[in-house]
């Protein structure tokens, strides 16, 4: 080994003098086996989730959204105020509790606390002009807005996916007829139909809902879901049809048919996973757009009916007193921003994680 000694200090030659004959023994079978390391078998979904977890922006957004969901469920249990009732003290209405600033107590509340020595739950965001606690109204507004957003996005997804997938995969005359129907719905003015539908549906639905679980939600909310389901799936259907048309002409679909794969398996394994990124993005973006639509419908008096608040109607109510009480616009606006931003970032993260072509 001596002759293999490094001659020069800076040479990159391996200094073999450090080794002896034992170092160059053949590996045993056991040692060889250790080299045959094989990656864990992962599914497409697991793989995507692993990548999603590495994305700090998306994970941050997920945490923010989860936090919001926890708050809207837990806060009403802790906070003693109701979103619809006026602030009360000892079972009597507190007339002095209107237009309070954040964390301010009304005259009567102050007197009560001084007298009894008990402390009252603070008005975190103050109260509105009718003396209702604003914090709890924002919480309920967030509940309503999120519910509207997610339920309608889900309905749009289901209807659009089924319709678009059928039209795209079968093609020909089926596609032609189905897409002309979509064109007709597309060409109707949205606003007009929404107004008409909500007026008609509200009247029609009222007697049907009495005594059911839906009665609690209110006819306006139900009719709004129906409006979304009836009108907004067309965009999704078009998008998915286009994707499927492009994907089904790929050679791997032909290869799958050559193997003998059934239509349902081809749709499930080859076509849908390949338009998944588009589906995810569109669904994630459908949520904020539904939240926006709900808020302008509420502004027109067609959305959520008072006293139930939504973030949109809260923001609209605050416009008139913007100069005196800016916090009433700022708070729901911040919540809307948080929801929309979080959903968009999650959508982006999902696309990056599930689109293996980008990696």
């Amino acid at each position: 080994m001596e002759q293999f000694k490094k001659r020069q200090f800076l040479s990159s030659q391996i200094d073999l003098s450090k080794f002896n004959a034992d170092s160059f023994k053949k590996a045993t079978d056991d040692e060889k086996k250790q080299q045959d390391v094989m990656g864990e078998s992962t599914t497409f979904f697991k793989d995507g989730m692993k990548r999603l977890k590495k994305n700090p922006l998306a994970m941050g957004s997920v945490i923010v959204l989860l936090l919001l969901v926890v708050i809207i469920f837990v806060a009403p249990l802790i906070c003693p105020y109701s979103y619809s009732a006026f602030t009360q003290i000892d079972g009597r209405r507190d007339g002095t509790a209107t237009n309070l600033a954040p964390f301010e107590y009304s005259m009567r509340e102050q007197e009560y606390m001084d007298k009894t020595g008990k402390s009252l739950f603070p008005h975190i965001c103050g109260t509105d002009n009718l003396g209702r606690d604003y914090f709890i109204r924002v919480i309920y507004g967030t509940r309503v807005s999120l519910a509207v957003g997610f339920v309608s996005a889900f309905m749009v997804l289901i209807i659009g996916l089924l319709y678009g997938a059928i039209a795209g995969y079968f093609g020909g005359t089926v596609d032609l007829i189905m897409m002309r129907i979509v064109d007709i719905i597309y060409s109707l003015p949205d606003m007009l139909i929404i107004i008409l539908l909500s007026v008609v549906l509200t009247q029609r639905l009222e007697p049907l809902l009495v005594g059911t679980v839906f009665a609690k939600l209110g006819t306006n909310m139900i009719s709004m879901f129906l409006v979304f389901a009836l009108l907004y799936w067309v965009g999704m259907a078009r998008l998915i049809r286009g994707q499927i048309l492009a994907i089904k002409n790929n050679e791997y679909v032909l290869a799958a048919r050559c193997i003998g794969t059934k239509n349902s398996r081809i749709l499930r394994k080859h076509i849908l996973p390949n338009c998944l990124s588009v589906i995810i993005i569109t669904t994630a973006l459908q949520v904020p757009s539904a939240i926006f639509t709900e808020s302008y419908l509420s502004f027109l008096g067609l959305g959520i009916s008072a006293p139930l608040p939504s973030l949109g109607s809260l923001a609209n109510d605050a416009r008139s007193s913007l100069l005196s009480y800016p916090e009433r616009l700022v708070v729901p606006a911040i919540v809307i921003c948080l929801i929309v931003l979080a959903l968009n970032l999650i959508g982006d993260g999902l696309r990056d994680a599930f689109d293996s072509k980008l990696n």
């Binding site: 050679e251 290869a255 050559c258 193997i259 394994k269 390949n274």
Partner: protein, 347 residues
């Protein structure tokens, strides 16, 4: 062609017409028009012709990825598709008094059991593999579809075996297709085709998308697999050199019809059809000395549109030997000795 069992695959009078709308007129694009050939077990039939002459359509139609317009396909002695037309010895459809063709028994078998026997390797290694699936799932799909394993371990074992067979590293089983090079991807496609242990594989321009050194590797692999497994190939390509190297017999196609079919060496040394002659003269010769001496036969004009086929012989518009007869009657393949079949009136 008397004994059916002698051949693994026999195609007779195969036609594939596609409906085309041109404005208000409905037309038929005759992509494959009356093609017949047969392949013996363990044999390679090369299919050459210029772009758009219907080579790929032949491959896809005989695997019934497209529904054939007419014809008869016999696989391993079993008729799997037959529209029932009958032909006389001149290759014409036998018609009754009213001019309608006399139809025999129609046969249209379910393809699933035959998919296990006939497979295909695709042209483009980039679009023929699903980007959402790992190599393991791509190669495992035929096993799933045909239920060729009992336990997950067995499935995995088979997949690794196949990967080894086509020279892929077993450690790459969990990777996605886009992580591989073109040659490796083509190997994945070949492993997928081999998964069901087929007797016959259509190689649809399987090496055309690869560069020359990789082509050689993949072609050698095809040959080794044939020796090992005894599969028959229909080797579709537009590169005559490649086809000459791998094929036992070669068929030359022009505008949806077979012009000449012969043993590879015979076709090479003794081409008869004027189209084959010009094709062979276009093959680049690596020796400049010989190249200078050889004469290139340049065809005049363009390939006619398959929507407006010339009457009679499809090649007559560009053929220097064309006569009246060529315009009137379509030549049929006739044996010129030793199974060398040519469709030409003059040569």
């Amino acid at each position: 062609m008397s004994n059916n069992d002698e051949y693994i695959l026999k195609v007779e009078h195969l036609k594939q017409y596609f409906p085309v709308k041109k404005g208000l007129k409905k037309m038929q694009l005759k992509a494959v028009d009356d093609v017949s050939f047969a392949i013996k077990p363990g044999e390679t039939l090369g299919l050459v012709g210029e772009s758009g002459c219907g080579k790929t359509t032949v491959g896809r139609t005989l695997l019934r990825l497209y529904e054939p317009t007419a014809g008869k396909i016999t696989f391993n002695g079993e008729v799997i598709f037959d529209t029932g037309e009958q032909y006389d010895e001149n290759g014409k459809v036998i018609v009754d008094a009213s001019g309608k063709p006399v139809l025999g028994k129609k046969i249209d078998k379910k393809m699933l059991p035959y998919r296990k026997e006939m497979q295909m390797v695709f042209q483009d290694p980039y679009s023929s593999l699903n980007p959402r699936m790992t190599v393991e799932d791509i190669i495992g799909e035929p096993l799933d579809v045909h239920g060729l394993y009992n336990t997950k371990e067995e499935r995995r074992e088979k997949i690794l075996e196949l990967m080894e067979l086509v020279g892929l590293n077993a450690e790459h089983a969990m990777r996605y297709a886009h992580e591989f090079s073109g040659g490796q991807r083509q190997r994945i496609g070949i492993a997928r085709a081999l998964a069901v242990n087929p007797k016959f594989i259509v190689c649809d321009e399987a090496v055309s998308a690869l560069d020359v050194s990789i082509q050689a590797q993949v072609i050698n692999m095809f040959e080794e697999l044939q020796k090992k497994l005894g599969v028959a190939y229909l080797f579709i390509a537009h590169d005559l050199l490649v086809v000459r190297h791998i094929s036992d017999r070669i068929a030359v196609m022009y505008l949806g019809k077979i012009m000449e079919i012969a043993d590879a060496d015979e076709l090479n040394e003794n081409p008869i059809h004027p189209y084959t002659l010009s094709l062979l003269s276009a093959v680049p010769i690596p020796d400049p000395e010989t190249a200078r001496k050889s004469q290139r036969i340049v065809l005049e004009g363009d390939v006619p549109s398959p929507l407006r086929m010339p009457t009679g012989c499809p090649f007559r518009t560009r053929c220097r030997y064309a006569t009246e007869k060529c315009a009137q009657e379509r030549p049929i393949l006739t044996d010129r000795g030793n199974g060398h079949m040519v469709a030409c009136w003059n040569k």
